[in-house]
Amino acid sequence: MYLYDEFDERLVRERVAQFASQVERRLSGALTEDEFRPLRLKNGLYLQLHSYMLRVAIPYGALNARQLRQLGFIADVHDRGYGHFTTRTNLQFHWARLKDVPTVLGLLADAGMHCIQTSGNCIRNVTADPFAGVAFDEIEDPRPVAELIRQWSSLHPEFEWLARKFKIAVSGAAQDRTVMKSHDLGVRIVRDAASGEIGYRILVGGGLGRSPMEAQILRDFLPRQDLLAYLEAALRVYNLAGRRDNKWKARIKFLVHDIGVEAFRAQVEDEFARIDKAKTNARPAEEARIAAFFAAPPYENLPGVSRKLERSIARDEELARFVEHNLTRHKRKGYAALTISLKPVGGIPGDISSDQMRVVADLAEQYSFDEARVTYAQNLVLPHVRLGDVPHIFARLKEQGLASANVGLITDIVSCPGLDYCGLATARSIPIAQALAQTFADPARQKDIGELSIKISGCINACGHHHVGAIGILGLEKKGAESYQFTLGGDPGDSYALGELLGPGLPAEKVPEAVERLVAVYLARRQPDETFIETTRRLGLAPFKTAFKEIADAVA
């Protein structure tokens, strides 16, 4: 994992000191709220419904034990004993106190963390495949590139005040696991079929929010040495041409949509031709320095099957379920990537207590070469565990309520904080997730239903990714009450799709019944081995709409 060098360390410390002075001036009244707001946002500090919220960057979702323990310490001493992992693979503390934030930023810096660029109109935290470096289908580990982009984009003077926020995803595997097509810019590591050379496919113009759009290909193949020059060119075109008169039309997706991807590409290529590449691109020595941090850990030579695990599975049904749903194939024989679900039935999606953070830290340290990852589905991953260690890890997770065997299943629900915390929300989202998880809690039923993603947002901003949920739920206000709109058929992966509206909004108490009806259509009409999303694609919206209408009509 990447560790700060002197330069990173100094940059972060200077920023802490700078923000401490800004807070002091705000508290004394020397700075007005209007002056202070953009400064605090640049440091990830929001004002939400009940309190300030501090958003900590987890660069490309990678954490080590020390960082997890430090987050746990901050949660205990400066917050309310827990944190919330988001779809952007960041961690939010929901009860921050302005006067303490400089201290917290200092504590984060002690563990090589910060909140820089987790908000505001700048290049945000880079997201990457949570199985980076271990995925069986990987062409190349995306983390060195993600780290390079993190360094390039951190406090980049030209891109400090873009027209709007800017989100970048990086993936190096055959299958996308980053929701890349919902990002402003995507960097996909690809192998050129003709030459066998590795380079990048660049995507542009994705985004969710009130006008969701799918990213399009900007450059099919970019030679690897030109990455930063090309990104610089793309950002420069956006920085100059992106709309600044209307916040709701300011994301790069609108620019690409308005002028067309061909015209946008032409401008980027023009700029790219002019850029001094030698000066802008990373030096090979620097790339090598970064890459060295991500060298494979000292794996053991293990057999592909663990007798110990097999024996334990035969004795323990729960463990068997856990292994079936929470392990992902590793490139290395005898190892697996283990997903820790933060979706216990009845819990709050993405929430983690300080005790749980410490247990995950211990497990990462003991069993996964001191690494943990955060996924966009608000879960954690221990990326390299020996198969034989899984029974023990499972037992430790179980003690902490972290052993839910539901990854990818109907109770693995993504949800933004919604109106329980968020000042922008139009409705609550967490209680909807809880009610649905309870409805479908039975493990046998979950298994029968199989892979199905429900994603919930508490307003049109779509932080809960509802547009790309197989079932998407959006909380709105209708006649002074919370109301929930359903979309069907969204897909965050390579068969990317935005969900389509099923009908009018429903009150909260009707949501579980509505999902039951949709699931019933699937169960009745699926073909052998067909997942929910595949059935919706084959059948189209109509049968689901009919089922949904019965409930909507009953409400009306």
Partner: protein, 106 residues
């Protein structure tokens, strides 16, 4: 989020404490964290005065986002009419152990 020009009445004044971020309510003696002690205004002139107080306190860097919030008089404490403000006066509905609901049980 913008407060209506003419507030519905009765109303209370709600804000976030600048230093702590916590939700606070205006009283005759300043601010309180306790929703049960919030000053309830019944007429427009009193509402105006409360609004002015909020604006001044904002300029004095004591609170952020002061807003008049329409309430109904319920047992024990004024209850905001809109569900958003009601949640704000109580705390997260999914964590009854946190927020006002935990500190100031009705």
């Amino acid at each position: 989020m913008a407060a209506a020009k003419r507030p519905e009445l009765p109303a209370i004044l709600v804000a976030n404490d600048l230093r702590e971020g916590e939700v606070v309510f205006a009283t005759l003696e300043g601010w309180t964290r306790d929703p049960r002690r919030a000053l309830v205004v019944q007429d427009e002139r009193a509402a105006e005065a409360l609004r002015d107080f909020g604006a001044k306190e904002f300029l004095r860097a004591r609170v952020v986002d002061p807003q008049l919030v329409a309430i109904e008089n319920a047992e024990g404490a004024p209850r905001p009419r809109h569900y958003r403000e009601a949640l704000r006066a109580l705390g997260p509905s999914v964590r009854p152990d946190l927020g006002k609901q935990a500190d100031f049980p009705l």
